[in-house]
C-alpha cells in the first residue's frame, strides 16, 4: 500500500518538474548563425554569431539555468553589470578594404589585444571595486591576463565620447595580449554545444588562427525586468569574426585569367570542415551569405553589359557566380535611398542537414568582378613623430576617403555642413602627454584649436595612478581633405620591475577610438517576418554610430641595465659611505692631533722596543713608573667608554628583540 502511493508521489514530482523544465526551456533560447561575406580583396569574412537569452532572475535569488552559462549569470548578478563587452583580437581590421561604414565594421572591428568595457548598475563610489572584481573573474574565466586591468593606471572612465553612460562606465585595453586557443576554449565552453555540433564545429583552430583578422567578442546585456517586458533578461551575444584568405580553387573556366577572378571557396576549403547538422539545443541554426551593396551593383552592371554570353543559371538572374547549395530564402535589404542597389542575403538553414549529408556551402566565381567597400567619412590613422628616447609626439591623421559624392555622406550631409568627429584616446602614464601642446592642422595648415573643437575633456595622467585620457569632439567642415592632431609627450622612466619581459621591444599605446556621431549604419530588412527574425539580423538593423579604431602605437622607452641592481646598490652606498666617513673624519680631528700623531709615529719608529720594555717593567713593578705619554693615560678611559657603548648597544638589541622580535 505504501509503495504505490510513494510511486505516485514520485511520478507526480517528476511530472511537475518536467513541466517546469519545459516552460523554462521555452524561455531560455539559443541561436546560432554564421555570416559569410566575400571581401573586395579576395578574402572571405566569416562571422559567427551565437546568442543565448535567459529570462530575468526570479526575485528569490537562485536561478536554475539550462542553456545560459552559469558562470556568466553569477558574475552578472554579483557585480551588477548592466552591459559589458570583452573582445580578444588578433590582427587589424583593414578599414580601407574591408569596409568602414557598415554594421559589421563598427560593431565587430576591434582594437588588437583585449578590450573590455562595462557599465555597472551600482552607486558611483562602488564602480571601481566592482570593476576590479569583474576583471579578476573574467581573467579566471577566459585564461587571460585581464586582471592587469585591475590597477587604476590601466583603465579609465570616459564620460561621453565612447558611450553615453555617465560615471558608471569603465574602459580598459591590453594592446599586447596574445590571443590564442586557450582563450577560445573557455569562450566555446559557454555555448551549449561547445564546438561539438552545429555551426561552431567549423572552428578548426589552425585555420581560424592563421586568419588575417581574428576577433572573439562577448557582449552581455542585462535589462531589469521592471523596465522591459518578460522576454528581456540577460542576453549573451558571442561573436567570432575572422577574415580568411581562401586558396583559390581550380575551376574549369580558363578563358578569364585567374588573377582577375575572385577565388572560389567552400566551407570545407576555408575551414577544413563541414557542418554536420545543427546543434540540437539551438532554436535556429542558419548560415547567411551576404553580398554587399557595391558587389551587387557591380554584378548588375556586368550582367547588363555581358548579358549575351552569360548563361542564366544562377538565382535572381545572378550568373557571375554559382552556389553549391540552393538557398532557402533570399533577403533583400530595404534601402530607403534611391538609386543605390541594396545588399543581398542568401539564407541557408542547417536544420535539414545531418551527419550523412553535411552542409558545405561553396561559392564559385565565373567572371571577374571588382568592387569596393563603403568607407567611413574619414580614414583615421595614428603615428609617432620625433626620435630619441626622451620625447616625441603623437599624431592622429584624419584623411578624407574621397567618397564624399557617394551615398551615405551625401545623404546625411546638410548644406554648409559640419562633420563631427569624436576622438577618444587613452595614453598610459609613462607617456606624459602635454595636452597644452595640442595642435590642429586642417588641410595642412595650422589652425587655432578653439575654432574646430566643439567639446574637449582631458584627464592628465598621474604617475603610477591613472592614465591620461582625452575625449574630444572635432567639428570639421565637410569638404575637409585632411585634419591632423599632434600632441607632444615626454617619455617616463620606469622602475626596473615595471618593464615587461622584453623591455627593448617597446610599449604599446592602446588604440584611439574615432567615432562619427552623425553617421549611423543600419540595414533594413523586410519586417513582415519579424517572428522569424534572427538575432544577428536584428543586430544589423540596430542603428549604430560609425566607429573605428586606430593603430596601436609602439613606443620604445629607455631601459636601465637590468643586470645591475646589486652593483648600483653597492656602488651608491659606497659613495655615501665615503662621504659620511671622510667628512666625519675631518671633523673629528683635534687641533694638535695631527702633529702629535706624527710625533708619536716618529717616536714609535725609533724606540718601539724600548717603549714596550719599559711598559712591561712598569706593570711588573706595579705602576710605580709614572706614565710617560698621554695616550696611555687615556686608554683605560676609552676602554670604559667603549664598554659602556657595547653595553648600551646590547641593551638596545635586547629591547628590540623583546619588543619587536
Amino acid at each position: 500500500m505504501e509503495l504505490p502511493s510513494r510511486l505516485v508521489f514520485l511520478l507526480f514530482l517528476l511530472l511537475s518538474s518536467t513541466k517546469a523544465f519545459g516552460s523554462e526551456v521555452d524561455k531560455e533560447e539559443f541561436q546560432e548563425e554564421l555570416l559569410l561575406k566575400p571581401l573586395p580583396d579576395r578574402k572571405v569574412l566569416a562571422h559567427f554569431h551565437f546568442e543565448t537569452r535567459a529570462p530575468p532572475c526570479n526575485s528569490n535569488g537562485r536561478h536554475h539555468h539550462h542553456l545560459f552559462p552559469k558562470s556568466i549569470s553569477q558574475m552578472l548578478e554579483k557585480f551588477r553589470v548592466k552591459e559589458m563587452e570583452l573582445s580578444f583580437t588578433q590582427g587589424r581590421w583593414n578599414y580601407e578594404r574591408w569596409g568602414g561604414f557598415d554594421t559589421m565594421s563598427s560593431n565587430n572591428a576591434k582594437p588588437p589585444g583585449v578590450e573590455l568595457w562595462a557599465v555597472f548598475d551600482v552607486p558611483k563610489e562602488q564602480v571601481d571595486a566592482s570593476w576590479k572584481n569583474l576583471t579578476h573573474t573574467l581573467s579566471g574565466i577566459f585564461c587571460a591576463s585581464i586582471n592587469f586591468l585591475e590597477s587604476s593606471s590601466m583603465y579609465s572612465a570616459p564620460d561621453w565620447s565612447f558611450r553615453q553612460a555617465s560615471g558608471s562606465l569603465r574602459y580598459g585595453m591590453l594592446p599586447r595580449e596574445a590571443v590564442c586557443t586557450e582563450n577560445l576554449t573557455p569562450w566555446l565552453k559557454l555555448l551549449p554545444c561547445r564546438d561539438k555540433a552545429g555551426i561552431s564545429s567549423l572552428m578548426d583552430r589552425p585555420s581560424i588562427y592563421t586568419s588575417l583578422y581574428y576577433s572573439q567578442r562577448l557582449h552581455l546585456t542585462s535589462i531589469a525586468s521592471d523596465l522591459e517586458g518578460l522576454n528581456s533578461g540577460i542576453a549573451l551575444e558571442q561573436t567570432l569574426t575572422v577574415v580568411l584568405h581562401p586558396s583559390s580553387q581550380r575551376t574549369g573556366l580558363t578563358h578569364f585569367s585567374q588573377s582577375y577572378l575572385q577565388p572560389s571557396w567552400s566551407l570545407s576549403s576555408i575551414f577544413g570542415r563541414k557542418v554536420n547538422g545543427r546543434c540540437v539545443l539551438a532554436k535556429s541554426s542558419k548560415v547567411y551569405l551576404q553580398l554587399e551593396r557595391g558587389l551587387v551593383s557591380q554584378l548588375k552592371k556586368s550582367e547588363n553589359y555581358g548579358a549575351d554570353y552569360i548563361a542564366s543559371e544562377g538565382y535572381d538572374g545572378e550568373a557571375n557566380f554559382e552556389l553549391s547549395v540552393n538557398p532557402d530564402r533570399v533577403i533583400k535589404e530595404e534601402n530607403s535611398r534611391n538609386g543605390i542597389s541594396s545588399s543581398l542575403l542568401y539564407e541557408f538553414s542547417v536544420d535539414k542537414y545531418s551527419n550523412s549529408k553535411p552542409f558545405d556551402l561553396g561559392l564559385t566565381w565565373k567572371f571577374p568582378v571588382i568592387w569596393s567597400c563603403q568607407q567611413a567619412p574619414l580614414h583615421a590613422s595614428r603615428f609617432l613623430m620625433g626620435s630619441g628616447n626622451e620625447r616625441g609626439a603623437i599624431a592622429i591623421l584624419l584623411k578624407s576617403t574621397d567618397l564624399n559624392d557617394s551615398s551615405p555622406v551625401a545623404n546625411s550631409d546638410m548644406d554648409g555642413c559640419e562633420l563631427r568627429v569624436n576622438i577618444f584616446q587613452v595614453v598610459p602614464w609613462y607617456i606624459r602627454v602635454y595636452y597644452h601642446s595640442l595642435q590642429l592642422f586642417v588641410d595642412d595648415q595650422l589652425k587655432a584649436v578653439g575654432a574646430f573643437v566643439e567639446k574637449i575633456h582631458v584627464m592628465p595622467s598621474k604617475d603610477k595612478i591613472s592614465p591620461g585620457m582625452m575625449e574630444m569632439v572635432l567639428k570639421l567642415p565637410c569638404g575637409v581633405k585632411s585634419a591632423a592632431l599632434t600632441l607632444d609627450f615626454d617619455k617616463g622612466f620606469l622602475h626596473i620591475d615595471e618593464y615587461p619581459p622584453d623591455a627593448n621591444q617597446g610599449f604599446d599605446i592602446p588604440s584611439a577610438a574615432i567615432g562619427f556621431p552623425d553617421f549611423h549604419t543600419s540595414m533594413l530588412f523586410p519586417s513582415n517576418e519579424s517572428e522569424r527574425k534572427s538575432p544577428m539580423l536584428s543586430k544589423f538593423q540596430e542603428s549604430s554610430p560609425v566607429l573605428l579604431y586606430t593603430e596601436v602605437l609602439l613606443v620604445p622607452l629607455t631601459t636601465p641595465d637590468f643586470s645591475m641592481p646589486y652593483n648600483v646598490i653597492t656602488i651608491t652606498c659606497t659613495v655615501f659611505a665615503l662621504y659620511f666617513g671622510s667628512l666625519l673624519n675631518v671633523l673629528r680631528q683635534r687641533v694638535g692631533e695631527k702633529e702629535r700623531l706624527l710625533k708619536s709615529k716618529a717616536a714609535a719608529k725609533t724606540s718601539r722596543l724600548s717603549d714596550l720594555l719599559s711598559r712591561l717593567s712598569a706593570k711588573l713593578r706595579g705602576r710605580s713608573q709614572e706614565p710617560m705619554q698621554s695616550p696611555s693615560e687615556s686608554s683605560p678611559l676609552i676602554n670604559s667608554k667603549l664598554a659602556l657603548k657595547v653595553l648600551l648597544m646590547a641593551a638596545l638589541a635586547v629591547a628590540w628583540q623583546y619588543y619587536f622580535g
Binding site: 628616447n389 604617475d463 655615501f576 662621504y579 671622510s582 671633523l587
Partner: protein, 399 residues
C-alpha cells in the same frame, strides 16, 4: 682657409649670441634673478671680508692680511657665479634654479647684514620653493647670533686673558679691545627671536596665500604631498646628474623605503657635527650645507652646483691652501663635458648604456664629496694656523 674659419666662427658666435639673447629676452625674471644674486653675493663678500679683517686686526695677525690684500673675495665670488658655465646653462635652459638660488642668497645676505626680516623672508621662500634650504636655519641663526665668520672664539678669549694677565694696569685701548672681543663671543638672542618671529610671520603668509590659491583644486595637505612629498619620495626616475634616480630605478621594492630614509637622513646627520665644529663660521657652514644638499638632494641640477661654486669664492682667504684644487677643477670640467655626451649616447642615439651616464653621475658625486671634505679640512687648518700665529704672537708679546 683662415678667413673661412674666422667667418664660420663669426657666424657661429653671431648665431649663438642671437639665440642666447632671444632666449634671455623671454625670461627676464631668470636673467635678473642671476644678476641680483651676483650683486648680493658681492655685498655679502664685502661684509665677510670686513669682518675677517677686523677680527684679524683684533688678533694682531696683520701679516696674513698683506698676502690677500689684492683680491676682494666678494668680487671674485660674484664673477665666478656669473661666469660659471653651470649658471649660464641653468639660465639658458630656463630652469627655475636661479630663482631658488636668489632666495637662498637673500637669506644669507640678510643674516650677514643683520636684516632680520629679509633673512626670514629668504629662508621661508627658499624652503617653500625647494624644501632643502630648510636646513639653513642653523647657519642663519648662528649668523644672527654671533655675527659673520670669525676665527674661533677661543683665540679672542686667550688673547683677552693674555692681555689681562700681561698688564693689569693697561691703557684704555687694550681694555676696549678685550671688551670688544668679549662682546663678540656672547650669543645675542634678540635677533634670533626676531628671526623666529619674522619667519613664522612669513610662513603663515605664504601658507595663507597657498591655501587661497589651491582652494579650488584641493587642500593644502594635498599640495604638500604633491610638492614636498614628490621631493622626498623619489618618484620621478628621469635621469639627472644626481645618484638617486638610478638607485631607485634599480633597487628592490621592499628596500625602497629603507634607503629613502637613509639617504635623506644622510643630509640631516651631518648638520649637528658640522654646526658644532664650524659654529664660529656660520657663512661657511651655510656653504657646506648647500653643497651637501645639492649633492644628495633627490633631483639635483647644475643650477644648484652653480650656487655653491659661486659661494666658494667668498672664502678665498680661508681656502687659499686647499688640497686637490687642480684635480677638482679638472674633474668638474671633465664631468661636465662627458655627462652630456653619455646622456646623448644613451637617450638619443641608443648606442650607449644607462651605466655610462650613471658613471658620470657617480664621478660627479665623488668630486663634490672631495670638494666638501677638503674645504672643511682647509678651513679647520686655517683656524689652526691662525691659532698658531696668535699663540706665537702672544708668546712673543709675553716674552
Amino acid at each position: 682657409m683662415l678667413d673661412r674659419c674666422t667667418m664660420d666662427l663669426h657666424c657661429y658666435s653671431h648665431f649663438l649670441v642671437h639665440s642666447l639673447l632671444k632666449e634671455l629676452k623671454g625670461n627676464l625674471i631668470i636673467f635678473f634673478a642671476d644678476i641680483i644674486s651676483a650683486l648680493l653675493i658681492r655685498a655679502t663678500g664685502h661684509t665677510l671680508q670686513m669682518a675677517y679683517r677686523q677680527s684679524l686686526n683684533s688678533l694682531d695677525i696683520v701679516d696674513l692680511l698683506k698676502s690677500s690684500d689684492s683680491l676682494s673675495s666678494g668680487d671674485v665670488a660674484a664673477l665666478v657665479y656669473l661666469w660659471n658655465p653651470f649658471t649660464i646653462a641653468a639660465c639658458v635652459g630656463l630652469s627655475t634654479s636661479p630663482v631658488e638660488n636668489l632666495v637662498v642668497i637673500l637669506a644669507l645676505h640678510g643674516a650677514c647684514k643683520g636684516l632680520v626680516p629679509l633673512a626670514a623672508f629668504g629662508w621661508v621662500m627658499a624652503t617653500h620653493l625647494s624644501l632643502y634650504p630648510a636646513i639653513l636655519i642653523t647657519p642663519v641663526i648662528l649668523l644672527l647670533g654671533y655675527g659673520p665668520d670669525t676665527p674661533p672664539r677661543k683665540l679672542f678669549l686667550q688673547k683677552g686673558y693674555g692681555k689681562n694677565g700681561d698688564n693689569h694696569s693697561s691703557d684704555n685701548c687694550g681694555q676696549q679691545e678685550t671688551n670688544h672681543s668679549k662682546a663678540e663671543v656672547t650669543f645675542s638672542w634678540r635677533p634670533v627671536i626676531h628671526f623666529l618671529f619674522w619667519s613664522s610671520l612669513w610662513s603663515t603668509y605664504v601658507l595663507v596665500l597657498c591655501s587661497i590659491s589651491v582652494k579650488p583644486h584641493g587642500s593644502l595637505w594635498e599640495m604638500f604631498q604633491r610638492t614636498y612629498g614628490f621631493i622626498l619620495t623619489v618618484e620621478d626616475m628621469s635621469p639627472n646628474i644626481g645618484v638617486l634616480w638610478y638607485f631607485f630605478a634599480e633597487v628592490f621594492d621592499f628596500f625602497r623605503s629603507f634607503f629613502m630614509i637613509v639617504f635623506h637622513l644622510n643630509i640631516l646627520f651631518m648638520i649637528l657635527p658640522l654646526a658644532i665644529r664650524l659654529k664660529h663660521r656660520p657663512c661657511f657652514l651655510a656653504f657646506i650645507y648647500i653643497a651637501i644638499s645639492s649633492m644628495l638632494k633627490s633631483y639635483p641640477s647644475v643650477g644648484d652646483s652653480a650656487l655653491y661654486l659661486g659661494l666658494l669664492g667668498l672664502f678665498l682667504d680661508e681656502l687659499a691652501d686647499m688640497q686637490f684644487s687642480f684635480f677638482l677643477l679638472c674633474g668638474y670640467i671633465g664631468v661636465s663635458l662627458l655627462s652630456p655626451v653619455m646622456h646623448n649616447l644613451w637617450i638619443w642615439r641608443g648606442t650607449g648604456n644607462a651605466n655610462f651616464y650613471y658613471a658620470t653621475g657617480m664621478a660627479y658625486a665623488c668630486l663634490q664629496i672631495i670638494l666638501v671634505v677638503e674645504s672643511v679640512s682647509a678651513v679647520l687648518n686655517h683656524d689652526r694656523k691662525l691659532r698658531k700665529l696668535s699663540v706665537t704672537k702672544l708668546r712673543d708679546g709675553n716674552s
